[in-house]
Symmetry: C2
Subunit: 515 residues, 2 copies
């Protein structure tokens, strides 16, 4: 068994069952091993940013890592933006990057580069294999690193000769540490704050935003009157009927400051003190008001659920939260122009049970939460690191992880163009992804930001740089070019019809929503 096969068998034994690949020459033995080993699913991506974003979506939904397979430094480079998002999402991910044979690196062939240097800024763990006999153990260490709570990107660099030389069989998985417990003192401190009855906000992040954590937080809030909130961008939030509803810290600085202005105590549960996404002249970086007391109940690598359960006990929270929304879905909107409000109502009215919403709406989607809170239970996945071009890959990976659930990808046109190659993989794998592209033919967020940063009145050249018109993108053609059926909708009636068609389709479908 060569090194590549020992590595693939080790990955499989460690629960890594899917590899999102874009291989090259130096990865050919790994490709042959993927071929040989039953049970490993290889999903070909035509661009590395699709592979890394899909591995992120898979990891968020499966709760365990997929692997990537990338081609040397430039292949890794193409995957960096979505690895950055995965890092910020705390997604478990085994990032495998091929490399020249160890002895070949000295010759500085054209594709040679500093792979570890490129990997480090987006990885929590980096290792370069040195020998075929230890590459399986390196792979096992990568899995353990990726799965170490709260989850991280583990990059394994794989020189070609560590794949083709004789290996040493399957390596055992090292012990994966459990989430660290929270000290009693932290629970007592949070409970004392909550009992004071002052304006307190509990900011929930990471796994605290799944059903169990939200239920616990909802009980605490019911008892103490604390407000619950989530950060602006989150890896995954459990939402919908029967679940505790939670709002997010708004993206615009002025709105965020307003949302937090009366908070006297902020309790962090796997989240960090909210900051502005960017610095703006004359505006603060921290969103908490002066004098706000920040108390950490649990950091992301700690056991958030146990901490919330202990806190619920400490404040003698009731058995059930009282802030679960009733099931009152909005009406399906009829007629008229497509507006963000009508879109939100349509989603609230028609989102199916178990839907996975991959939201890269950017400006268009800021108001989608209130109208969808009473839809049937669903998960909402966001772009966590601000690196646009995640939505379509994320939806791809989520659909691979959960083939029985409908994935709805809400996509801004500007962001969608970064990694549109994901549509091809959706067609090839017949993934059940319904994509809605908000076609406003502009980097709408930047028009707003240009004003926010006080850069003055934009002239023609500046507006040109924020406009995606001239020529207008035709998403139906783009999707068709990659084998995905598409439709254009310019009115709410057309959109609702197309949305119903897309929901009924079992496979990828794209709607260009003209705004």
């Amino acid at each position: 068994m060569n090194g590549a096969e020992s590595l693939v068998r080790t990955l499989l034994a460690g629960g890594v069952e899917v590899s999102f690949t874009n291989p090259g020459t130096s990865e050919m033995h790994f490709v042959a091993a993927l071929d040989k080993v039953e049970g490993m699913r290889s999903v070909l991506c035509l661009f590395e940013g699709v592979a890394t974003g899909a591995a992120d979506g898979y990891g968020r939904m499966a709760g365990k890592p997929a692997s990537t397979l990338l081609h040397l430094g430039p292949g890794l480079g193409n995957g960096i933006a979505n690895l950055h998002n995965a890092k910020r999402a705390l997604t478990p991910l085994v990032n495998i990057v091929g490399e020249h044979a160890t002895y070949h690196r000295a010759y500085d062939a054209p594709l040679t580069s500093d792979i570890e240097g490129l990997a480090r800024p987006v990885s929590g763990w980096v290792r370069t294999a040195t020998d075929a006999r230890s590459v399986a153990a390196d792979g096992a260490a990568a899995i353990a690193a990726a799965r170490t709570p709260p989850g991280q990107v583990a990059t394994l660099v794989l020189p070609a000769d560590t794949a083709w030389n004789e290996g040493n069989g399957v390596a055992p998985l090292p012990p994966v540490p459990a989430a660290r417990p929270v000290a009693d003192a932290a629970i007592d401190a949070a409970a004392r704050i909550l009992k004071r009855g002052e304006a307190t906000m509990i900011l929930l992040g990471g796994s605290a935003l799944r059903e169990e954590g939200l239920a616990l937080a909802g009980r605490i809030a019911s008892k103490t009157g604390a407000r619950l909130m989530a950060p602006t961008s989150n890896a995954r939030i459990a939402r919908g009927a029967g679940r505790v509803a939670i709002e997010r810290v708004p993206y615009p600085v002025d709105h965020a400051l307003a949302a937090l202005k009366d908070v006297q105590h902020l309790i962090l549960v796997g989240a960090r003190t909210p900051t502005a996404f960017f610095g703006y002249p004359g505006k603060p970086s921290l969103m908490t008001p002066p004098g706000c007391h920040v108390q950490t109940l649990a950091t992301p690598e700690q056991d958030l659920i146990a901490a919330l359960a202990a806190l619920a006990d400490a404040v003698q929270a009731p058995r059930n939260a009282s802030n679960v929304p009733p099931v009152e879905r909005p009406q399906v909107p009829r007629g008229g122009a497509v507006t963000p409000e009508a879109l939100a109502a349509m989603l609230g009215a028609l989102l199916p049970e178990g839907a996975i919403v991959c939201d890269e709406s950017v400006t268009t989607g800021r108001g989608f939460f209130p109208m969808t809170r009473a839809a049937p239970p669903h998960d909402w996945l966001q772009i966590t690191g601000g690196a646009i071009g995640l939505g379509m890959p994320l939806a791809t990976g989520a659909a691979v992880a959960c083939p029985e659930r409908k994935v709805v990808n809400l996509e801004a046109d500007g962001s969608g163009m970064y990694t549109l190659q994901a549509l091809w993989t959706q067609a090839r794998e017949r993934l059940d992804v319904l994509t809605l592209v908000w076609s406003n033919r502009t980097y709408a967020i930047l028009r707003h930001e240009l004003a926010q940063v006080g850069a003055g009145n934009p002239g023609r050249k500046a507006l040109d740089m924020l406009s995606l018109g001239n020529p207008e993108l035709d998403w139906v053609k783009l999707a068709g070019g990659m084998g995905v059926e598409g439709r254009r909708a310019a009115t709410m009636d057309e959109l609702v019809r197309a949305f119903r068609t897309g929901l009924e389709a079992k496979g990828p479908f794209l709607i260009e929503v003209v705004l």
Copy 2:
């Protein structure tokens, strides 16, 4: 004048007249300054790999740097693959990467990352601006670094507050060093070798492959019988009728070894000893035969033209080279299937004078050189760093640099999919680019490489991973979705007709060539 405006005016004063941009919030003041300053052309790209590849194409043709404008670490990440190619091409390029305001970085907002860490592997020079009053001087230093022979990528990281705070006016350009002269001893040593009459090859790289260097090398070869060759991948070769023809070291290791097997002396002129592109089990990394004596006449940062001129004098070369091909173009092929041979003949027959060929043909184009050597004078640009996804961006930048010349982009389908967003910029800027996509629906090179590395007989899963069929890409739709007219050609008659149409069009045109 704020820092951004002082920087843009400094760029313009330093000869940087084009910026290939994909900006975000942190770059809004720079965008406003681009808007305000007359004479700076901003070219919007919908993906950063397009911006960096276009800046490479511009730099190769204009002989001076363009700038990019990228959005923090993830935006830089998306541009890394083509920066790697630009680095290997020795292209002068000012790579500007926006960053959080200096005071905001401490808050580790979602888009925060180690930008310098990401930039270093693909840059010859990296600096982060620290103050609006010195940012113009930083920009001037970046231009000087980019232009320092033989040319390099200079990355300037631009925190938002160094753009929006008050600046210090236009900064003067520091002196740019000239190419270093070659010592007489190196010229004497090369001349002595050539005079021995033993089997000698002169390997020409970089600027030695322009018309003047080739003419000098041709004269030396006429006198001494030395063979001339170029590396496998080159930034730009002057070719066509009236010019000294030169072959490249073949890509396949066995062919390269065969091409060099009788070489007793290898004289390097701005090139390096040929190596295999990848390591292969049981095959050497170096392509020179055992015992081959390698003599460096000039390294890339030296004055290659002066060195060749001195060497021509030293060997008493004749005034004119005798190895200039006569103008005998092939016939336009008629009828029949599209084959690489027929493609080569068509290019040789129809390539217009002054054409700029951006060649990312990968497997399909390996035999294009012999049939095109007698076409009218043209330039041939290749993918230098092996990072596929360069062709369409490279063509975009070359067309911006040389609006009066026809750009012909020879593009493999697999490679084209990496950065297809370039077509949109071609449509928007009405660039005169004729793209031929070799639609073989496979990573053909990898099928060959799978055998070359001895990875065994591929099974279904492995072949699937190298196949772009299922679904088949429709390049006419993809181009149409971005505003570029396209046509499909499945026979040579159809192709010749479409090629003539594309040559006559003044603007972007794409032909999907079914192989």
